[in-house]
Amino acid sequence: MTTTSGAARPARGPERRPPYEALARDLRAALGEAHVLDAPEDLVGFEYDATIERARPDVVVFPRTTAEVAAAVRIANQHEVPIVPRGSGTGLSGGAVPVRGGMLVVLTRMNSIVEVSPDDRVAVVQPGVINLHLQEALAPHGLTYAPDPSSQRVCTIGGNVANNSGGPHTLAHGSTVNHVLALEVVLPDGRVARFGSRVPDALGIDLRGLLVGSEGTLGIVTEATLRLVRMPPAVRTLLAIFESVEAASHAVSDVIRRGIIPVAMEMLDREIIRIVEPRIHAGYPLDAGAVLLIEVEGVPEGVALDAQIVEDACRHAGAREVRSASEAAERERLWEGRKAAIGAIGGAAPAFYLLDGVVPRTRLPEVMARVMALSAEHGFRCANVFHAGDGNLHPNIMFDPAEEHATDRVLALGEAIMRVCVEAGGSITGEHGVGLEKRSYMDWVFTPADLAAMHVVRDAFGGRERFNPCKVLPGGHGCASGHAAEVVRHLAGGVYV
């Protein structure tokens, strides 16, 4: 993904076709005047998500109920226009960009927490509920919803479900799919269907598990039933300071080797520490090569023991200092630098390109060395803040878009880093999704037969041509060939990052 701080530029997108006016009229009749936008000035804000891609929808609808989503989908089908779901627009792979125009279904008005049941340890929510708002509603019950993407202050549960989002606590608790018990979904033909149940391992074939992470290509989630967990009685956060990323990477594997799975193991490298610390004052030493933030939780005696084992492993791997906090305020401060890291890069460089790749954890030392070498070869600074315990890298390539061919060179570096991940036995995305951005990399990890099977699934759901077209799978009618070609085309228009 690329973070934008530049001026707007014209979006591409199909020329407006005459029928769009009839489409808007029919949608207004179904959803009400105020909940359908089609004036060009109103559409501009819905051209993008958090990526470089932009494309203008023909019409934007804001349904409030499942029935309205279904009605809007049926109307769009009658008019034969593409349908693209969207939450808060924080996606990092272009999944909500309406590349072929059509109807954008914005789900932010469906933001009710329908039910919190401490008895059954479930929450039932509409898709537009903000992740953090749910957490706040759960806290008084001593419960939590485990997936905690870094964008949790703004991202929606619907978007989390669509992308199978992760976060720092994925290490012990798993990604979104492990916490979604049931879904209500409007299918591409407008039918409303339910999958899963209020308890795990529902009857029948698990289409719930298939829908989570399908990036809005198989249906629009209109309600989710989520599994909740009790807040642990004790939590301890450790900050271990290392001379190098390599030493910190070894510590990560050593902790696991000692039989401990912390709830989080996050790494920040020297480059990011030097960006974050002057701004946030989290207490990270400026001369450190890397820091690891490690969190353990459980009953107090277990936590004390686990923390000791973690500390021993870190020191064994060469940590020069290990700090530890168990009070909430202290822990919060240690986390502050991690949480603010991506934002801080925005203030340190004119632009940056945030990558998402995943490798086996034991390959981290060599992969990180390769990432840094490649960045130097390509002439860029690269700051790393990532989920080390999961082997989930997030290199941030910093650049100045005013420099000639900057974006081409950045994309070339990003592609080279993705290659390194795949060659190390990993994959092209750990949590941000394929979307538009990585469609053209799909054949690095999948054979034509694998991709054909995925197309078969998409076809069976009925959304192949018009339901969030040009996302996840390569090919598709009217879709450009892939990331690099698409992005280069837009560069002509202007700006970014």
């Binding site: 529902a202 277990g302 023991l305 394929v434 069976a460």
Partner: protein, 413 residues
């Protein structure tokens, strides 16, 4: 019952090496033998078998541990047994990554033995025991008392290779612990009873073996009190791996008590288990108990001679669901965190199953027949496929000739 004439399997015999053919008498399902059995040596032979069988219109039933063949509807046709036990190798195991990739015919026991050498395990406890194969574990997605406290097979699977009825070999997911690349077809295959393909390889996230475990039991005068106690134990947020409520009949069968009983398994570091043992004693009359209760429950759940039902109800409805078994000659127990009420009986009839299903559905739950005689599975729906339109659309595309487990999910499906 009249069946259409059996197509010839001769071309299959010619296609596969002679040493792969096995006698059909080894492979009876619901009393019916296939025309032939084949035990391929590798996945290429599996692909060859399926491609040929599909071209011939044959009905194939994949199997290995043969622990879950009394699930779903009785097969509508059964020509070829596909025995996957020849695929039993570990493909890759990287202990420091906590990941393992294995062939699907490997038994859970063999896998656990391998993992134990590095102090690790695959944290699943399916019925009836570790003779379940990896492919069977995924195809049935069965879980035991650990579910809800620990992830299930569908959460632990990182990726698979499957052979489609066309003979195409496809992969989804990967071998890394966090991955959102492409559709998670491995989740669709998990629990599908082979509807879309035959799983031949799977990668899993594994876990460190807990340093210490302890089983504790507490009996109460009434089932209500036992369920309330189980609930308090769950809410204490201790390092538990299982919390199960046994009816008095079940407690007697397990030789634990003659009253409704809560059994808890703690698992974690020694310090955490010791502390939690004390915490449990403060919550209720918990005392040390034999861990033999757990394998006993697993065996009952996988009993090949009984009718075994699993209701899934919200945790708040467990007492009511257990109450619904009163008056029936069944052993029942409830796994609190997963909302599973397992019922084991010898002579349950269709009316009893329907009554229990109604009780589960009235509380927002469901009931699945995990194992029962064919006659009962003809008379009552053992548990449908879910969204019939979508499952049919998927099945029509992946297996249009219904090569795999013909009729398992319903008539013509």
């Amino acid at each position: 019952m009249t069946s259409p004439p059996t197509p010839s399997i001769e071309p299959l015999r010619h296609a596969l090496p002679a040493d792969t053919e096995r006698g059909p008498h080894h492979y009876a399902i619901d009393g019916a033998e296939p025309v032939a059995g084949f035990a391929p040596n590798d996945r290429a032979e599996v692909a060859l078998l399926l491609r040929t069988a599909t071209a011939l219109g044959l009905a194939v039933a994949p199997q290995a541990g043969r622990t879950a063949l009394r699930a779903g509807r009785p097969l509508e046709a059964y020509h070829v047994a596909l025995d996957l036990r020849g695929l039993h190798r570990i493909v890759e195991y990287v202990p420091d990554d906590l990941t393992v990739t294995v062939e699907a015919g490997m038994s859970l026991r063999a896998l656990q033995d391998e993992l134990a050498e590095h102090g690790q395990y695959l944290p699943v406890d399916p019925a009836p025991d570790d003779h379940v194969t990896v492919g069977g574990l995924l195809a049935t997605a069965r879980s035991g008392a650990w579910r809800g406290h620990l992830p299930g097979a569908r959460d632990l699977v990182l990726g698979i290779e499957a052979v489609l009825p066309s003979g195409d070999r496809i992969k989804s997911g990967g071998r890394v612990v966090k991955n959102v690349t492409g559709y998670d077809l491995h989740r669709m295959h998990t629990g599908a009873l082979g509807a879309f393909g035959v799983i031949v390889e799977a990668s899993f996230k594994v876990a460190p073996r807990p340093a210490a475990t302890a089983t504790l039991a507490a009996s109460e005068g009434h089932l209500d009190a036992a369920c309330a106690l189980a609930r308090r134990a769950w809410d204490a947020a201790l390092p538990v791996r299982a919390i199960t409520v046994l009816t008095s009949e079940t407690a007697r069968r397990l030789d634990v008590s003659s009253a409704p009983t809560v059994i808890v398994e703690l698992a974690g570091s020694r310090a955490a288990v010791e502390r939690s043992t004390a915490d449990l004693a403060a919550i209720g009359p918990f005392t040390d108990a034999s861990p033999a209760a757990w394998p006993h429950l697993r065996r009952l759940q996988g009993d090949p001679h009984a009718t075994v039902l699993r209701a899934g109800v919200p945790p708040s409805a467990l007492t009511a669901m257990l109450d619904a078994t009163r008056g029936l000659d069944v052993l029942a127990w409830a796994n609190v965190a997963s909302g599973a009420v397992v019922m084991h009986g010898r002579d349950l009839d269709a009316a009893a199953v329907r009554g229990l299903r109604a009780a589960a559905e009235a509380r927002g739950g469901f009931l699945q027949v995990e194992g029962a005689p064919a006659a009962l599975r003809r008379e009552v729906d053992p548990g449908g496929p879910g969204d019939l339109a979508l499952v049919t659309a998927l099945r029509d595309r992946f297996d249009p000739t219904r090569t795999l487990n013909r009729g398992r999910w319903g008539a013509g499906l």
